[in-house]
Subunit: 344 residues, 2 copies
Amino acid sequence: MKLATLKAGGRDGTLVVVSRDLSLCQRVPAIARTLQAALDDWHTSAPQLEAVYLQLNAAGSAGNISAAEPFLEADCHSPLPRAYQWADGSAYINHVELVRKARGAELPASFYTDPLMYQGGSDRFVGPRDPIAVLDEGWGIDLEAEVAVITGDVPMGVDAAACAGAIRLVMLVNDVSLRNLIPGELAKGFGFFQAKPASAFSPVAVTPDELGAAWHDSKLHLPLQVTLNRHAFGKPNAGDDMTFNFAQLVAHAARTRELAAGTIIGSGTVSNKQGGLHGSSIEHGGVGYCCLAEVRMYETIEQGSPSTPFLRYGDTVRIEMLDNAGASIFGAIEQAVAPYQRSI
Amino acid sequence: MKLATLKAGGRDGTLVVVSRDLSLCQRVPAIARTLQAALDDWHTSAPQLEAVYLQLNAAGSAGNISAAEPFLEADCHSPLPRAYQWADGSAYINHVELVRKARGAELPASFYTDPLMYQGGSDRFVGPRDPIAVLDEGWGIDLEAEVAVITGDVPMGVDAAACAGAIRLVMLVNDVSLRNLIPGELAKGFGFFQAKPASAFSPVAVTPDELGAAWHDSKLHLPLQVTLNRHAFGKPNAGDDMTFNFAQLVAHAARTRELAAGTIIGSGTVSNKQGGLHGSSIEHGGVGYCCLAEVRMYETIEQGSPSTPFLRYGDTVRIEMLDNAGASIFGAIEQAVAPYQRSI
C-alpha cells in the first residue's frame, strides 16, 4: 500500500492512504491520525489501512468512493514530518571510493564489511516541495538522492534476517549536504552536524510488497531519476553496487541499542560504478550522478580540480523513481534552493 | 515549575506536574497528555501547567488536593521517553583537554571557540531507574553525568541571546558511552553511533526560573553529585569551567537548520579543572569525576596506563543535584548495569 501525510492538522500532519496511481487519497482518522501513530501500532493499523487501500484502488477507477479526495503531491509533507530517528548509511561504496581517491587516500578494507552510518537530525524535515532553505550560498549546497526505509521496533543485536522483516515502508530522500562545512566538521572528530540541514522525503511511502519484484534482497532494484534545473542528471540503479542492503544497515544501527518504530534508515547517495568522468554523465551515455560531489570528484581525479559548481539560489532538484511501466512510485521530491525565510 | 512523565499511557507516557519537594504530582490531561504535546504548544500550556504547580505546592502542605497523588521517582520514564532530537555538546573543555593529553595530542585552538557536538539517538530513551542494558560487558561501559536542556522552536541562525530565551526546561542525563567502540567508530570519520546506546534522563525536568540564582548566564551553578556503587565519585560544579553555555550550544545546533520544540541539548560530561590524579578524587579532597574515562585519563597521563576499570554487570550509578538547602531538584537517575533482555 501507499501512504502519505498532508500538511494539514499540526506538526505531524494528517495520514492519508494513497491510491496506487497517486490520483486519489483518503484520510483515515478512525485508524490513525498520523503515520507515526500507525507505526506505533502497526500490527493493528496496517491491515485496516490495507483494506482502505484496496477499496481506493478498486473504486478509484469507478470514481465512487465518497471519502476519497484528489491526491496532490504539492499538499504533502514528508511522510514523517518529524521522526524519532533518522540514521543515514553510506551503502554505495563507489561513492566513498571516489571521495577517498579524490584526496589521494586509501579506502580501509573494513569499509567493505562495516557500514558507515551517521545520526541525522529528524526534528523538522521539510516537505517534498519545500525549498532547500540556506543562510549562505557559499556553504557548498549539494543534493544527495537516496532511498530510505522506515522500520518497526527492532530489538538490540538482532541479525540482518530479522531486520529485513522489520522494514515497514520505503521512500526516497534528498539528504541535502553543505559540502564546504564538511571538512572542518569531520576534522573535529564528532561527525556531521551543521553540514546536514533538514532533509526532504518523497510525498509517498510504500510498503515493500508494493514494489513487487523490484524489491528483493532488501534492495530496491530500479533507477533513481535525478533532474537538475530540468536536465537529466542521474539515473543509477539503486539495486546495483549497494554493498550493504537495508537489512544490514538496520542491523548495524541496532547493534548496541533498540530501534523504535518510526526509525528512518537511509542508503546514502546512490552511486553506480562507472569508468570515469568521460562516459559517466547521462549525456555521454552514463547513468549520471545523485550528488554534485560525485562529478566534482571525477573532475578532481582526472582534471586536478572540480569545475561543476554546487547549487545556488534558484537551482531546482527533482528526484523520482518510475516503475517498469513508467509510473511514478513515490511521487517526486521537487525543491528549489532559496534564502532562508524565518517561519518559526 | 517541575514536570515529569509517568510510564503509564503508551510510548510517550503521561505528563504530570510535580510539587517542588517531589512529594506529590498531578496528571493534567485537560492541558496536555504528554510533555511533547505541552512543548508543541508551550505558550498556551505553560501558564496552565504553572497554575497547577502553584496549587500543588500550596495545597501539598495542607494535603487537600484530591487530584494529586504521591510522586514516585520509580514510576517515571525520562521526561521525554522519546524525542525528535538529542544533540550533545562537549562544553567542559577540561574533559577534551584530558582526552587529548592522554594520547599525546594537542588541542586545536578552535575548540575554545567552536563547540563540539554530536547528534545522538533519541527514539527510545530509558527511564531514570531502568538498567543500563548492554550485550557485551567488554565494550567499555561508562557513565557520563551531564546537564541538558529542552528547547522550544528555534529559528535557523539566531544568536545565543535569542537561544537563551528558547530554553524551556532543564534536567540531568546519563549519556552512557561504550568507550571501547569509540576509537574504531571515530576512525571511520562519521562520528559516534554504536558507541552511544540509549541515554537516561532525570525523573524531573524543571523550568529555569525554578533554579533561582543557580541558573544564570545559561549555566547551572550547582554541584552534580555522582555516586558509583554507593560511593561518592563526583561532585563538580556544573557552572564552573563550562566553556560554552547552553545558549551558545543551542545557537551552534541552530546555525544551519531550525530546531523544533522538544529538542534536547546536552552539556557533555561535567568536568572541573583539577591539578592531576593526586587530589582530584573526592577521597583525596577533589571534586571527583562524572565519567570513568576521566580518572583513566589522569592515570594514563601520570602512570602510563589506566587502572580503574569500566562498569561491569551489577555496578550501580546514581546522578543527582541538590539545591543549597540539600533537597533534590530533579530526583535521581539510578541505574544498574545489566545484560540486555529483549523487551520489544
